[in-house]
Structure formats: C-alpha cells, structure tokens
C-alpha cells in the first residue's frame, strides 16, 4: 500500500483519510446507512486499502449518490474527517471515470436536469427541470399527479424566471465545468 489514493484525496480535497480509525460513529449516525451498499466508514476503509478493485467498487457504489451531505457524520467524527467533502469528490470521479452505479442514474439525471435549468436561465424552473428529468429517465409519470394541486396552490410557475445577465451564467458554467 503506497497511500496513493490517500495522497490524491488529500491533494484534491485536503482531507486526510489515514486519520480514520474505523470507529464507525459515522455509519452509526448516517441516515441512509441501512440502504447503502457501503456504509461511510467502510468507504473510507476501502479507500485506505489503496487497492484498485476497492477504489472501483467505491466509485461504482450507490452509497456515494445516496449521501445527501447532511453532515451528521462529520458533526460527530472524533477525528473530524470531512466525509461529505470526500463524497463530493467521489461523485465527480465516478462521473469522470464513467462508472456511476446503475441504481443511481436517476439521481444523477436529477442533478444534471437541475443544472441544465440553471444554465439556461440562472434560476430553477421546476417545469424545465422535470421535462429534462423525464427525458433522461423515461420516468414520464413522475409527480404528474401533483401538477394540478401545485397549479391551484400557485406553486408552479409555468413561465420560467430568469436572471437578466444570462451570459454571465453561461460563462460561469463554461469556465467551471468544461474539462481543461
């Protein structure tokens, strides 16, 4: 074990996974631990082993896409290991290496559709986002039942809102998300 994985993570996120002594407090308090394929402390352990198979398993896991960054883990971790930050890193790596778990594709589609809407107008349009989501997932009936009540309660804007300086938003997206 050359600690290459740990070094990479330290350089990109500043988090030192070698500090983790596997106490399990994070997994004990994780809201979705029961539904994850790998609990947070196990993910850290797998990264600690610096093993390529384990790394692949981590990046292909559903866990990293279920994590909601609720910060229960780092709030209680005795070694103050920033697991949410690592999760964000693992998510971007997982997309980069094209091994996103099949079970998580819908969640990724949700994030992408969300950002597409922002890219377009700088502010979220639920309608635009949902249309994009349904296109990506073929989940055409998702929340269709809610539309009438949302409309009658005045909660659904049919005409999307937009920032005035849309160019600045497009420029931000271009500068930050295009791979260099």
């Amino acid at each position: 074990m050359n600690h290459t994985t740990a070094k990479n993570i330290k350089e990109t996120t500043g988090v030192d996974i070698d500090k983790c002594y596997q106490c399990g407090k994070c997994s004990a308090g994780c809201i979705l631990a029961d539904d994850m394929d790998f609990q947070p402390s196990i993910i850290i352990r797998m990264l600690q082993t610096d093993d390529s198979t384990n790394n692949k398993k981590v990046l292909s896991s559903e866990s990293i896409w279920l994590c909601q960054n609720c910060e229960n883990c780092i709030g209680r971790c005795p070694k103050e290991i920033d697991i949410p930050k690592i999760m964000d890193y693992l998510r971007t790596e997982s997309v980069k290496k094209k091994c996103v778990s099949l079970k998580a594709k819908h969640q990724l589609s949700f994030y992408r559709s969300f950002l597409d809407s922002i890219k377009m107008s700088g502010r979220l349009s639920e309608l635009v986002m949902m249309v994009g989501y349904k296109f990506r997932t073929f989940n055409l009936l998702q929340d269709v039942k809610l539309v009438p009540s949302m409309l009658s309660k005045g909660k659904l804007k049919l005409i999307p809102e937009s920032v005035k300086n849309r160019k600045s938003i497009k420029s931000i997206f271009k500068k930050t998300t295009t791979s260099k």
Binding site: Y21, C23, A28, G29, Q39
Partner: protein, 637 residues
C-alpha cells in the same frame, strides 16, 4: 594544542579499560585537566568525572566535548566535520585551562515527608515512608481519605470488594504513629527547596471539634438539610449538611458543609449542636494555618471523570438514565444509594436492557482529549459482568472500538465477560442517544459487519467517560512549581526512566495525577515514589552539584561589587536568590544589603548572570572567564 600534555584515542572510553586509561594518564602525567571527546555529557559526564576523582583529580576539572550529538551525528562524513570536531575540542581545552576545582555542596535535610492527596496512591506512599521510620504528613482535601477507590464496588481483575481491601489501609494510616493525617485540608503554600521545604497547610474549619467528637452520628440523623446531592455517591444519593462522606470514612467524624448548612446560610437551626452529646460542635471558627518543615513532597492528588453533560450527542446530561461509569459503581456498590441493586435513577426500576459505551471523550481529538484513558475497557467489562450477575435475565451490550487489556489476567477477564457472562460486545461507536417513552434509543454500528447500523432500545446507558486531571490541578502545580501537560496531568521528569519524579527536585508524584492509571500501577508508583523519598531522607545531608551561581565577595569597604538592585531576585525562576545584610561586626549596623544565592535551590540556569548590571554574579563551572575562553578558541582559528 598548547597546554595539552597527553592525548589519546580509544573506541569505548566509558568502558573499564577506557576508564583505566584515563586514570593512568592522570597519574603518569600529573594532569590537572581532562577533556573527553565523546558523546553527550548527559550520557557519561558523571562516569568520567568519577574516574578523575578516583585518580585523585578534582572531578570538575574534567569536561566533555560533545563530538557525537553535536558533530558526527548531524553532519556528513567529510573534512569540514573533522575540522569542526577539532574546534570543539580546542574550545573545551581552553575552557578547562580556566576551570577551578569545586566541591560538592551539602545541604541539610528536614526528615519529614509531605504527601498531598489521600487516595490509594497517597495512602500507599505514606505507609511505605512511615514504615521506614520517617515522619509523614498526609493532607487530604475531602473529609475522608480513600479517594475514588473507596467509591468502587469491586476491582478488576479479581472482583475484590474495593472497600474491603482499602479500608484496612485507611485505618492503618489513621493509627500509624509516624503519620499525621489532616483531612478537610489543603496545601496553601510551598516554599523552599529540596530537603528544606516549608509547607503552609490550611486546615479548613470543620465546625466540629474532633477531640470531643466520638463519631456517634446523632447529628447526621437530626440535620434538617437532607437532600444535598452526595459527592461520594456521584450525585445519585443525598447527604446532610453535617456529614461524613460514607459510613466507612476515615476519620469517621463529620464536618459541616457551610454552603448548604441552614445556620451558615440563614443563621437559623443549630439542631446538631443541640443534640450533640459531647458538645463537639462549634460554629464560626476560622480556618487554621499550620507550617511544617518538609524534606520531600509526594503529589498523589488523583483524577476526575468527565460528567455526562459534556456529551452533546448523548443528551447534554439531561437524561437521568444516562450515567457515568463511576455512577454505575455507586449503584453496584453494596453501600451505595440503591444498596447494590442496579436501578434506574429516573424511576427506580431495574433495567432489563443496558448499554455500555466505551471511549466517551477519550481518543477524541474533536472533543479535545486525544489520549486513551486506559482503565475504561477493563471497568466496562467489569460493569457488564456485575450487571449480568445482579440481573441474570438482563441483556447487556458494550459498544467498543478496541479492547485494551494489557495487565496481568486482564485479557482473561475480558474474555470471561464475552464468553461466559453473555455480554454482547459490538465493535462500533455510538452516534447518538435520545429518549422516547421512557426508553433510551441508542444508535450504534457494527463495524465488523460492514458497519451496519445497530439500534437498541435501552433502559439505561452507561458512558465510560474519560479520566481527566483533578479540579485545581493547574493551581496546585503552579503553587508547587511543577510542570504539567496541556491536559493538566503533572509532568514526570522522564517518561521512561524517571516516572515518579518531577523536574522540581524533591517533589515526586504517583498515581493518576500523572496520567490515567489502574490500581496496581498506582500502588507500584506510590511505593516507587516512597523509596525516592526515603533515599532522600535517609542521607545525613543532601549532596548537590556545585554548578551554581555565586555572588562575588571582595575586601571591605566594598564587600562585593553587587549594588543591591535585586533585579536577579525578581528574575530568578527558582526563587533561589535571597537578600543578605552585610553588617558591621562591632556595631551590628547594616552596611549594605546584597544578593545571596541559595546553594540548595539554584539550578545554574544563568539568568541572573545575564541580568546583573554590575557583573557581580558568576556561575561556578561555567564562569565568564571559562566561557569567553571557550568561545574565543572557537572563533580564533
């Protein structure tokens, strides 16, 4: 080099043949100075000085040139390094030429020891010193000796009844002719130096005259203030305002807690005085101060444990049934608030499901305590076992990170808990505990099963909280001028080889005040400290190295170049400088007052030398002349 009569080289100079080489050279060449080019003086300066002394040369004419730690170990092998070695030797040769023969200093010793803290460490140390025939003063802050060990129910790994093995020693202390016991007392001030300390002890007023009190206990039954949380029972039981901490207290005579007494608070009551058959109760007396001449001090002030309110994720102390390990000891103890039955503090029911959480506060840099408290793995196993013995149909679970059971029979003890007593051990820490419908919901994880969450609805939760330094540890350390670490544990002189000494000569320490410890180690340390004290007190006088500062003296009418500004006295970190009056022998009139260095206290640090404006102070063995010669030799190639 000029002045060098003989030079040689030998691989292991510190060995016998090497030493003999030096002795022979001194005799043959009539040497009056030796420079040994070798390892650090911290290693063998004493060896070589002894060698010179045996050969008839004053040992302080021998100097060590450190060619190892300061030269060969820190540089690459090359000519420059060799040159540096030569320069170092040259510097010391020039110094040694100016060295003066010095005699060791003898300081008188007071043949009395002071032991601060009356727990098992203090009790053991006092008995050991007293049994060697020396006088001991034992000072204890609370109304009784015994410390935390007297609060325990049973001790690991033997499950001995703690009070049964402790109380005989407590009584022995009270009855020992060589031990003077002051309870409800504190160290007020410590002055002086090794062999010659002056301790001022505050005897807090007890409101009870112990010479009249028979310990009948009638006053305690009559006292109207009955609901004061008992410190001995860790808040789980109550006591009265006039009280002894426990039925087996030594001395078994009560004191009045002024903060909770009706008379002292509101000026009414006085019932205890009315009922006392011997008239032993006297109010409103002041604290007494006594001073004692002490030769050595042993600090055995013990430790404390974190309380449950420290833990945000376990309820901030608001759940009554979340308790500390020490509180559990009181529940399990036959003389405790529940007479040895494990009962919930909230409703008195016997818990059928109990959870023990290890490492609460310890090994937790996020909460500020990075260290391991050492004893919790063992006492948690003990608690779980005691619970299973007392509640056979109960279910106990221990959430642990590691098991630290390194002592004799410790590992077998923990395995017994797991394998024979049916205690469930789950490896994983607990994220949080909250209360619902009178039950405590414990959310942990089993890291050996892929960190699957484990949720238990418990009736009681016991936290193995961290052992921390005792209250007032910092103040006491500063009073005695001993060092302490960031956690306020007192610092030993060397972690490996000098565990029971401090860096302050004459002050020793033992027990949990130095670091978390179990009872066998505490007793061993206490006996170790006792031996150090006895070896000190057994000498007729104390011999010290003469490498100390001296204020110069010269002929009258000047007497000394010292002008009496006393900057040195202000600046001396060891309070080693006094004022000396130079008086006319006939008239007794004071001619001038100059500084005087106390040879017993001075550590030779040299601070006063640098501060002295008139250059009146010099250090023997490191005089200005010697140091300038060494430095000049180093500079003038």
């Amino acid at each position: 080099m000029a002045g060098v009569e003989f030079a040689t080289d030998y691989k292991y100079m510190c060995s016998d043949p090497g030493q003999n080489l030096i002795k022979q050279a001194i005799k043959e060449h009539h040497l009056d100075g030796v420079v040994v080019g070798s390892c650090s003086p911290r290693m063998h300066e004493m060896t070589f000085r002894k060698v010179c002394s045996e050969a008839g040369m004053n040992p302080y004419l021998c100097e060590i040139a450190n060619l190892r730690e300061q030269c060969s170990w820190v540089h690459e092998k090359c000519d420059a390094t060799t040159n540096k070695a030569i320069e170092i030797v040259r510097g010391l040769v020039e110094k040694v030429k100016r060295n003066k023969p010095l005699q060791a200093i003898e300081v008188p010793i007071s043949k009395k020891a002071l032991v601060i803290g009356g727990g098992i460490a203090g009790i053991q140390a006092s008995l050991d010193i007293a049994n060697c025939g020396h006088q001991v003063i034992l000072v204890e802050q609370s109304p009784s000796i015994g410390g935390h060990m007297s609060q325990l129910s049973e001790t690991f790994p033997t499950l001995d009844c703690s009070q049964c093995i402790l109380t005989p020693r407590m009584v022995e202390v009270a009855q020992h002719p060589n031990i003077t016991l002051y309870t409800y007392a504190e160290l007020e001030k410590l002055e002086g130096f090794i062999g010659n300390f002056k301790a001022t002890i505050r005897l807090k007023d007890k409101s009870v005259d112990f010479s009249k009190c028979t310990g009948c206990g009638l006053c305690m039954t009559k006292c109207p203030q009955k609901k004061i949380p008992s410190e001995f029972n860790e808040g789980l039981g109550t006591r009265t305002a006039i009280y002894t901490p426990s039925p087996q207290a030594v001395p078994n005579k009560p004191v009045i807690d002024r903060e909770n007494c009706n008379y002292y608070k509101k000026g009414v009551c006085k019932i205890c005085q009315k009922f006392c058959p011997t008239g032993a109760i006297e109010y409103d007396k002041a604290d007494k101060f006594i001073t004692e001449e002490i030769g050595a001090v042993v600090v055995t002030t013990g430790f404390n444990v974190l309380k449950t309110d420290f833990f945000s994720e376990y309820g901030y102390g608001k759940y009554k049934d979340v308790i500390t390990g020490l509180q559990f000891e009181r529940l399990a103890s036959a003389s405790g608030p529940t007479l040895g039955e494990i009962r919930r503090p909230s409703d008195g029911q016997i818990p059928k499901k109990i959870v023990f959480i290890a490492c609460c506060g310890s090994r937790d840099p996020a909460k500020g305590l990075a260290y391991c408290s050492k004893i919790c793995c063992m006492y948690t196993a003990k608690h779980a076992m005691l619970y299973q013995h007392k509640v056979p149909d109960g279910e106990s679970t221990v959430f642990y990170m590691d098991i630290r059971a390194g002592g004799k029979n410790y590992e077998e003890f923990v395995r017994r808990a797991i394998e024979e007593e049916q205690v469930n051990y789950v490896r994983g820490r607990v994220a949080r505990v909250y209360e619902k419908n009178g039950k405590l919901i414990v959310k942990g994880a089993d890291t050996l099963l892929n960190a699957k969450p484990v949720e238990i609805e418990a009736d009681m939760v016991v936290l193995a909280t961290a052992s921390i330094a005792n209250n007032g540890a910092e103040d006491l350390a500063q009073k005695m001028h001993i060092s302490y670490d960031p956690y306020h544990f007192f610092a030993e002189a060397h972690p490996k080889l000098r565990p029971v000494e401090t860096n302050t000569a004459g002050i020793f320490l033992a027990g949990a005040c130095q670091a978390p410890k179990d009872i066998p180690e505490t007793v061993a340390a206490a006996s170790g400290a006792a031996v150090k004290v006895v070896s000190l007190l057994s000498k007729p006088t104390l011999v010290r190295e003469p490498l100390i500062a001296v204020v110069n003296r010269c002929a009258p009418p000047q007497y000394s170049t010292c002008v009496g500004c006393f900057m040195c006295q202000t600046i001396c970190p060891y309070q080693a400088i006094e004022r000396e009056d130079i008086t006319d022998r006939r008239t007794g009139q004071v001619i001038k007052t100059i500084a005087k260095i106390n040879p017993g206290l001075c550590q030779g640090c040299g601070t006063c030398v640098s501060f002295c404006r008139s250059k009146s102070i010099d250090i023997q063995g490191y005089s200005n002349e010697e140091m300038y010669a060494e430095v000049s030799a180093l500079l003038n190639k």
